[in-house]
Amino acid sequence: MNTTNKQVRLGLNGDEAVAYAAYHADVDVISAYPITPQTIIVERLSEFVYNGELDAEFIAVESEHSALSAAVGASLAGARTFTATASQGLALMYEILYIASSLRTSIVMALGNRAFSAPINIHCSHDDAYAARDAGWIQFFAENVQEAYDLTLIAFKVSEDKKVLFPSIVNLDGFILTHSVEPLNIFEDKQVIKEFLPDREAVNKIDPSSPITYGPLALPDYYMEIKKQQAEAFKSTSIRIKEIFGEYEEFSGRSYSPLKKLYVDDADIVFVVLGSTAGTMRTMVKRWRENGEKVGVLSLTLYRPFPSREVAEVLKDVDTVVVMDRSYSFGSPGGQLYMDVAAALNKYGKYNRLVNAIYGLGGRDFTPEMAEDMLNASKDPSIREIWVGVRG
């Protein structure tokens, strides 16, 4: 089906694009609290609701903890449910992240990635996304504003799918994507989207005619079986996610897959990266290739469930894998993405040389010069961890 004629091209920043996606998804309940850099999302959605363009309940809660708590209630009650947050807000939600997943809700959250305090900082790190990595949420990373819009629509479809039933996070780099205006294609209106994303048909929703007890106390005799079921169900979501990527491509003309690779197949050095920096690295790698460097880039659109097998397959013949982390895991063997990549390679019997590059913390610009430094350092066999662009 060719629906490109049902789309319009315009300029939006990432937050606005996400707000349009939630609006176009005809979301039922929005439960959110303002926090930079996601605030524009909830401001735009408030306008859609207050101007009567979107028939939704906007719950202007008094904290992020309540934002996610209310979202859990709304999702269990059968509503298409959206929230958005960043950094400290995600940290305040932390307790409820696990509950939202374990109760198998279908909440979609936009996360305007921002560094954790202290010192307080409003700019991009991936601390918040990483903090949620173990909680049982599907996580997508947008590389640009178009992806932020598309992945939000995809996230609703994925989370509400009867073979999935897990909440989703759509990550977009704070300020770099949330506040940068880029051209993108969006669908003309809500009606167009219904073909791809019909009204939610909730499973096991709150219904007085079939009383269910949600969130009981389970002790050692059953807790482990309940977790095993959740673990297996979460692993298996990747099958539907890939199928839904395909359905969206058919619907929108834009292609998505868990991984994006450039010049990886014959590369000696591959950089693994999340978020907007993938674009920067693609530009750099093209430049380096012109100079004869055998380098490539692998970026992940799907971060959770982690596409371990695919990552290992892509990287199997690469000498040096440079994993770029926009965060730091104190006391761990490496950054959070580094540990995932290392474990994925190990799981499939690959023992590449791994280098961890820590970059861009708290919104530090990642410049071409820094990329050059990173490339050079990664060739030094004595170096295993690089703090890109740090003074000292």
Binding site: E57, H65, S69, D207, P208, G215
Partner: protein
């Protein structure tokens, strides 16, 4: 639901079943089973983490015959906000069903850790009934003091020590906090006065039908284990709490305060204190001062309420 004068007017059908593991003599079930009967029509319960939650849903069992949702400790009001919002929007947009939402939380989950989410929900005006069952300490974790623990009471974190004889602070006035949100209807309820309790739930049911929530009830919930009291004395303690004026039974109906149980000749507070181990140390001569402080607190609270009840509205 109509008001009752006699208990035989209460319907037989229970929506809260036996087989739960609440302690013998627990004061919570008489309120819960009455709430589920008096709140008419379809309903959904939201439960904060608390005694009621753990003791009635020990997997794979449940004592609930209505949809029941437990999210976490401090967020029952927020969870109810989400359910109510979803219900409203789905009624407008799709095939949604209408139901009433009842929230149960203990004193820890309401006075303390859940106060913020309660305040937010009350301010936003969601249509639900929130019942705080107040057993005056964190009983679920083993009797630690809460903002609802009364002056002088011994708990495991405010023991009757050699230097400090029980909790040094007075109980927080939760009703005042709730009323500050100008809710349509707030009331204290007490199991020793079951027809009063029923009629308040019936009124809440009518108000929920008219979308006049949020409504708030503060329930006196006797706890024989936490109060170190004979299990048979739960209702007796509840009655004495009212008759000593420690626990005024009143309602705030659209700002008008009405004292429902008049206590013209209060009993001495010592009658209440002496049946509970948590207060027994207060009866020693050296702790006379604490009892005097408690009496003053009771008098001030009662007299203030009498004065407020003279006003047409406190809103």
């Amino acid at each position: 639901m109509s008001r009752i004068r006699r208990l035989n007017e209460i319907p037989r059908k229970e929506l809260f079943t036996s087989g739960h593991s609440l302690c013998a003599g627990c004061g919570i079930p008489p309120m819960v089973k009455m709430a589920l009967k008096a709140i008419e029509g379809d309903k959904v319960v939201v439960n904060a983490t608390c005694c009621l939650e753990v003791a009635t849903t020990l997997y794979p069992h449940t004592s609930w015959l209505v949809p029941w949702v437990h999210n976490a400790f401090e967020n029952a009001a927020a969870t109810a906000s989400g359910i109510e919002s979803a219900m409203k929007v789905l009624l407008r947009k799709r095939d949604g069903k209408k139901y009433k939402i009842i929230v149960f939380g203990g004193d820890g989950g309401t006075f303390d850790i859940g106060l913020q989410s309660l305040s937010g929900a009350l301010e936003r005006g969601h249509n639900f009934l929130y019942v705080c069952y107040d057993n005056e300490a964190y009983m679920n974790t083993g009797i630690q003091r809460s903002g609802g623990t009364p002056l002088g009471a011994a708990t495991t974190t405010s023991p009757a020590g050699r230097v400090i004889p029980g909790k040094p602070e007075n109980k927080k006035n939760l009703m005042d906090i709730v009323i500050a949100h100008r809710v349509s209807y707030a009331a204290t309820i007490n199991p020793a006065y079951p027809t009063d309790m029923w009629n308040k739930f019936a009124k809440a049911s009518d108000l929920l039908d008219k979308n006049e929530g949020p409504i708030f009830f503060h329930y006196y919930s006797p706890c024989p284990v936490g109060w170190r009291m004979d299990t048979a004395l739960s209702i007796e303690a509840a009655r004495l709490a009212v008759q000593t004026r420690l626990w005024p039974v009143y309602e705030v109906d659209h700002g008008k305060i009405i004292i429902n149980i008049k206590v013209n000749k209060p009993k001495p507070i010592e009658e209440y204190l002496k049946i509970q181990g948590r207060f027994r140390h207060l009866l020693k001569p050296e702790n006379r001062g604490v009892v005097e402080r408690l009496k003053k607190y009771i008098d001030n609270n009662w007299n203030r309420l009498l004065k407020l009840a003279e006003l047409d509205s406190i809103y």
